[in-house]
């Protein structure tokens, strides 16, 4: 039994103009202590997966089918039970993630008292300890969010996510809003803190570089579907799905020759309102056949492609 199992999860948004399928039969698992990357373009369903796990999908969105299990127990019906305590989340923008009118200390202590038996002084001591772990001076518990730099704020957000000692942290583009120079520091910190506690991480990003450095396994998403999953090494060295191949080929590397032009996948990901029949990638796929235009490929042997799922 894996720590977290997602099985055939579908999320739909019902609006005046029809039903949009934001997640389409997504299945994946997460092991204890593992760093799982989720990669894909905006709107591919990465964040939606994260929100679905925590039950943070607001109406008109709705989980229409499938199951999410934490340690074998379904959490779809009552996500409040695990939200914050067993699974925490980190959002993209650290400034707007923190309540501007409350001190860092107040926000940390509030979370600690809520999810752990520590109260009063004990909670304050734990808050100070967390601050030290993330490399911020414990004196700054009395500071307000706006008095920190972006990188420092995201460290505080990590501390807040760790405050309840959760089994899983979902980090949704945690470094996108930060300066490149700070990104690595924050991700290293996340890795370090989580490894120390054995916490699993789902790292949502669109940056293949981040995936390569900080994850053990990667799921690739496209138009609401999981199209390939595997160890980071395999995905980067030998991607199988034509989209993943394109994604890897279009990622710049430091040692590449400046004269070679980067590969571009032709076209754009379709909006959820206009997903083509069959494989969602078929209009852009260099190897698509008739079958690809008619039948939706399922994830077989960790890849959802009619032509590539044989090992």
């Amino acid at each position: 039994m894996s720590l977290l199992e997602i099985e055939d999860l579908s999320v739909e948004f019902t609006s005046r103009r029809g039903v949009l399928r934001a997640l389409d039969n997504v299945s994946l698992t997460l092991e204890a202590g593992e760093f799982l990357g989720m990669v894909g373009e905006s709107g591919a369903g990465k964040s939606m997966t994260g929100n679905a796990i925590l039950g943070l999908i607001d109406p008109p969105g709705k989980i229409v089918s499938g199951d999410i299990r934490l340690q074998g127990e379904s959490i779809v019906k009552n996500p409040e039970r695990i939200r914050g305590s067993h699974i925490s989340m980190i959002f993209q923008d650290p400034l707007s993630s923190l309540n501007p009118l409350k001190t860092i200390g107040a926000q940390l202590i509030e979370t600690i008292e809520l999810h752990t038996p520590r109260r009063g002084t004990a909670a304050r001591e734990r808050a100070a300890e967390l601050m030290t772990q993330i490399g911020v001076d414990a004196d700054r518990l009395s500071a307000y969010p706006h008095q920190f730099s972006g990188g420092m704020r995201q460290r505080v957000v990590i501390a807040l996510a760790m405050a309840s000692e959760p089994e899983i942290i979902i980090a949704d583009e945690p470094t996108t809003a930060l300066d490149v120079s700070v990104q690595a520091q924050v991700l290293d910190l996340l890795r370090e803190v989580c490894s120390a506690h054995g916490t699993s991480v789902i790292l949502i990003t669109h940056d293949m570089g981040v995936i390569g450095h900080w994850t053990d396994r990667v799921g690739v998403m496209y138009a609401g579907r999981l199209i390939e999953i595997g160890t980071t090494n395999d995905i980067i060295r030998s991607p199988r799905h034509p989209y993943t191949q394109g994604l890897i080929a279009s990622t710049p590397t430091m040692d590449a020759n400046v004269d070679t032009t980067l590969y571009q996948i032709p076209g754009n990901m379709p909006p959820l309102t206009a997903i083509p029949d069959g494989c969602a990638f078929n209009p852009r796929c260099p190897i698509a056949e008739d079958k690809c235009r008619e039948v939706i490929p399922h994830l077989i042997n960790d890849v959802a492609c009619h032509l590539r799922s044989e090992t």
Binding site: R83, S88, M89, S97, L98, N99, P100, L114, L160
Partner: protein, 329 residues
Amino acid sequence: MLSMIIRRIGQSILVLLIVALVAFSMFRFVGDPVSVMLGQEATETDREMLRERLGLNNSLLVQYGRFVGRALEGDFGVSYRTGESVAAMIADRAPATIELALFSGILATIFGITFGVITAINRKGFFSQFIMTTSLIGVSLPTFLIGVLLIWLFSVELGWLPSFGRSGVTQLGSWWHTSILTLEGIKSLILPAITLGLYQMTLIMRLVRAEMLEVLGQDYIRFARARGLPLRSIYFDHALKNTLVPVITIIGLQFGSIIAFSIITESVFQWPGLGLMFINAIYHVDIPVMSAYLVMVSIIFVAINLIVDILYLFIDPRIRDAANAGASE
């Protein structure tokens, strides 16, 4: 922080001087004070003597300076209509208006915030829908119609409450009189207070609701939810506090308009306060009373704005830091 407060006080004084200039211009240029005070039959010598006595022959700047100086001493001249000292008229009528304004302001704030939070949290609920629909009518309904409606219902039909006047007044010391110490007095206060407070309540409620909805969509609320904080704490601790800056602004500004709407309410209920005095002054073109009222009301407004600004500093650490940073530059 202190220097910012001082700067704000300086700006307030400038505003007051400009308002005083408007009041002075009204006093000086609208109608001819000499013919109003002496009547048409006065001789030219009498006129000239009065001009000299009133200082109308001095330069305008000197006259303006004297106007401001006298206003600071609380001297606004005498009413054209009654010949009474304007300052005495104001002192006599102020307690009635202040009592009415405070009473309805407090009612409006308490109910406005409560209803605003309820309707924001439970948007689709029956109670929220009911309140929102009623409030829309409340906003559209002119204050005087609300007054007439209440009179019709509670005075004409039910006969529970008096339809006009301020009764049961007790004199407290030499300069204050109140109507809240007798049952009769409280009864006469109820209808005017509701009339005056209803519109403000609706405004506060709609603003609190809008701000709550805005704040509830913020990332830090999502993050608070993701951390598993209970809804009660998210709504009343995290969200409500973040709505307070605009809400306090509007409550402050609304207090100003309570003064303005008291003109209407007092007129409907013949409540013997400053508003009734002002509307009579307009009708009879009693310029000294009008300009004194203008100056007095602007002092109240400016003072409220100043208090609101200082309150921000206590609520929002960002504004506090900005003020401190501004001071150290």
